[in-house]
């Protein structure tokens, strides 16, 4: 016996069975739902057009997991199944130009809240005719936006909004490791050891200063696991800043 999807029950793989099919018929009759339903269908060498309506992909219990919306801003919404259902992903195209006289066609992939009025709240990738933005914009959760904006108003200019970590290493393949600390008085050398040896050598770009004076200093040694600074005098607290990159 086939069901509304014209699928044999043994091939349902956990989807609708005959009981739920009858229940669905009952529900449809109650709702006066007489819309056309088709099972497995192939469109050979042709287009599928939905005029003035959305395309909806749902689970057998009508939970929507994907929706292609109609309207003048083409949009695809993704509703990931999981314990957290407060957010959704959206892919849409829009004219990004602030001036109505201009055009800047763009496509946006973003995480936003799923409750009206929808608010941008999470990661965002915006690719437009004039620039590209990789952003995290927690407008609902709260916090500052951070982004990497390529071609930021001027050709080839990249703008980074955000801040850098202070002496934090996530793994051995991290590309940058930076921070600032005070080297206390009395030591002629100061060694900063990384969390774990990097996969390749980290090259330090360091700076050392003392308040109200000058200081001679140098890089004593560096490797994938540490760097050591040497000070001309051991007295006084030194301010050390560093920006290390992996080669």
């Amino acid at each position: 016996m086939g069901n509304r999807y014209l699928v044999l029950p043994e091939n349902l793989e956990g989807k609708a069975d005959i009981v739920s099919y009858v229940a669905d018929l009952y529900k449809r009759a109650g709702d006066s739902d007489s819309a056309l339903r088709i099972g497995h269908t192939a469109i050979e060498d042709g287009n599928l057009t939905v005029r003035n309506g959305d395309i909806i992909v749902s689970e057998s219990d009508d939970t929507v997991v994907l929706r292609i919306l109609h309207g003048d801003i083409p949009e695809i919404r993704f509703f990931p199944l999981g314990s957290v259902t407060t957010h959704r992903a959206s892919l849409f195209a829009v004219d990004f130009a602030p001036d109505p006289e201009d055009t800047d066609q763009s496509v946006v992939l973003t995480i936003e809240t799923d409750v009206f009025p929808t608010v941008q709240d999470g990661g965002k990738l915006l690719l437009s005719e004039t620039s590209a933005i990789l952003s995290h914009q927690p407008d609902a959760s709260g916090g500052e936006e951070s982004y990497l904006w390529l071609n930021y108003g001027f050709n080839e200019i990249a703008n980074y909004r955000g801040r850098w970590s202070d002496q934090l290493q996530a793994d051995a393949h991290q590309g940058l490791y930076m921070g600032a600390f005070n080297a206390t008085a009395g030591f002629s050398t100061w060694t900063h050891t990384y969390f774990t040896p990097f996969s390749t050598t980290m090259v330090p770009l360091a700076n050392v200063g003392v308040s109200g004076g000058t200081l001679t200093w140098g890089l004593d040694s560096y490797s994938a696991s540490q760097f050591t600074l040497r000070f001309g005098v051991s007295g006084g607290t030194k301010m050390v800043t560093f920006w290390n990159f992996r080669i």
Binding site: S34, A35, L36, I38, I43, D45, G46, N47, L48, T49, V50, R51, N52, G53, Q167, Q169, D171, A172, H173, F181, N182, A183, T184, A185, G186, F187, S188, T189, W190, T191, H192, T193, Y194, F195, T196, P197, S199, T200, T201, S221, S223, A224, S225, Q226, T228, S234, G235, G236
Partner: protein, 222 residues
Amino acid sequence: MRSVAILCARFDEVSRRVEVAKEIVNDDGSVEYNCQTFHPDTLEWWAAGFDTDDVDEVIDGILIDPFVPPIAVDALPHRAQRDAYRQTLREAKVALTPANGNEKPVEVNSAALKARMRAVGIGDVYVDAVDNDPYEVIKAACPFDPEVLQVRREQLTASRAKAVERSNTPSKPAGSRADEARRRLNTKPSEVATAGRAATTQPKRGELPPIVLGESRRRGAS
């Protein structure tokens, strides 16, 4: 360098880092003082990275590492080379430990040592810490959880397996890469887009009328 003595260790509450003071005797007999700092997570990372659960060996390795030639940058993914580096660290510890066989100077806890530290301007927080065993201070400040070690070890093993696999894959000769780049430059974008579909017959856009679904429902609703 003639010897390295571990004087003391302390956990700095402001920077949230372990600080270890060392007394270094150079080949010419001159003495200088070094401070080494590391994050408390370093012990677990280091243990996972060098495949050991021996916390004393891990601390030895971290403290002696700045005084040995650095491990080759492509050696860490290979177990044999990691083991060789561990051996290097062990030998360096023996070679650089002061003649009395202790990590600390002979006059540990003595007024003379503290006086030497104060003489070069080392602060009281370090001088007072001399009274404590530096290894015990480090162990108290740094977590060393077997479950965390296992997670870090699995993470490192996976990334190292990829690194070894990459190093074993022969790269294309430069000539063939250049030829490939040249071929791509000479290929029109339209040819690239349709190259994979050449075997099938594609309808021209607009040639066939669209199949429209939902018409009856829309008409019925109006």
